[in-house]
Symmetry: C2
Subunit: 247 residues, 2 copies
């Protein structure tokens, strides 16, 4: 099977990492819209327009499934992608919520963090409520994106930023509602303490593909092809560093 | 006279503010490429492509001059804009350097801060050296952009970020090489102390227009028209808050 993975930039490689580890596909076609990144500060209509353009690109490869690694895309453009694609389109929000359901109790307090676009959509919140959770706190944490891009993953700035966003909160679970946030996992664990469960989109989507869609392991390393709307060399360089995988 | 002002987003309004105060034009046409902001993390070729698209838009208004408020555009796309426009195109880099020459001594240490795209271009540095300055430190400070966009203009995160970028530096002058940075002026003054001179693009460009190009005051409030590639309402709202001016 051939999976197309769409992201606004390089962050979706955290999802690709999980897909590679779980060996769910023979081939992964990744497209990052690096010329227009980030999406998380943009409007619903702009995100839909960019997503439909990416869909046209993916159609050339005749994929079996399209995975939108980007939470802002998953939150705003999933329906439009689905009605324009002849293959299934899977976002990261439903998988994240199902992972929360597996790992947390209905009374647990869940903190949802993401970009402005993702949080303002209210999609995580709505779906979590539908699944019986009602102790929810949503918090846009847009500064985490440039921190990760600057490779500032711990230290004083990260601590001050977490204090600014979270104060003395002690949630039972945190939904990492942005592809960049898994890279802050250690800092978040240090901040909240070991009892707080972090839900990571990459792991959640693999779980979803396996358990909900019944996609099994191919038992082989997938072939990874990377595309970007600007500077594909940079995307490949970052992928080499992060994934340590041929592409 | 009619001035066109081009910026990657809303930051260029800091330049518009100065243009309004100096009353140099009867009409100001502002375009912010909010659907593709920020430019400072993007490639030279992408910045050139986007700038030439903006130029086509401005041609509809038959402006007398085009001012590129965005430092990343001024650093990378000025020549291409000039060779495709039938009116003068003025960037913010040369005016910033001329302002530095007026206010600082050749032996003074100058710190140049900006986005990755602006700093990596080396344009400020090259032009400052040409004008006899050689005690120069260039520093990309990309985190300042989202801090301003999040309206975090002082406090622990800002202090930790300045400490991260500047340590114990005490420059004689700082070139604020990004339209967002004037909003951090107070925090920068607190950090460096009162003896450090801050060079602000908006003020520098007005000085340049008046003293180098001989443009005089119209003695009237300019007519301001705002355009954006997404969410023009948001641009107008921000302009209303910042400029307190009809648009």
């Amino acid at each position: 099977m051939r999976a197309a993975v769409f992201d606004s930039g390089v962050g979706g490689l955290t999802v690709v990492k999980s897909l590679i580890e779980h060996k769910l596909f023979e081939e992964i076609i990744y497209f990052g819209d690096t010329a227009r990144v980030p999406y998380g500060i943009k409007d619903k209509n702009t995100i839909i327009r960019y997503s439909l353009e990416a869909l046209e690109f993916f159609k050339n490869f005749d994929p079996d499934i399209l995975i939108t690694a980007c939470n802002s895309v998953s939150a705003h453009a999933l329906e439009e992608l689905r009605s324009n694609a002849s293959f299934p389109v899977v976002g990261v929000i439903e998988p994240g919520v199902i992972a929360a359901k597996r790992r947390l109790k209905p009374t647990d307090q869940i903190l949802i963090i993401g970009t402005n676009a993702t949080i303002s959509s209210g999609r995580y919140e709505k779906l979590l409520r539908f699944h019986g959770f009602d102790n929810l706190v949503s918090k846009p944490t847009p500064l985490f994106v440039p921190l990760v891009e600057e490779e500032i993953l711990d230290g004083q700035i990260v601590e001050a930023t977490m204090k600014h966003y979270f104060g003395s909160m002690k949630p039972d679970g945190v939904i990492l509602g942005c592809t960049h946030f898994p890279l802050l996992q250690n800092a978040l664990k240090n901040y909240f303490g070991p009892q707080t469960i972090l839900i990571h989109s990459g792991e959640a989507i693999c779980d979803y593909l396996e358990k909900e869609l019944g996609i099994g392991s191919t038992n082989q390393e997938p072939d990874l092809k990377l595309f970007a709307s600007e500077n594909p060399e940079k995307l490949k360089r970052i992928a080499n560093n992060w994934l340590r995988y041929p592409c």
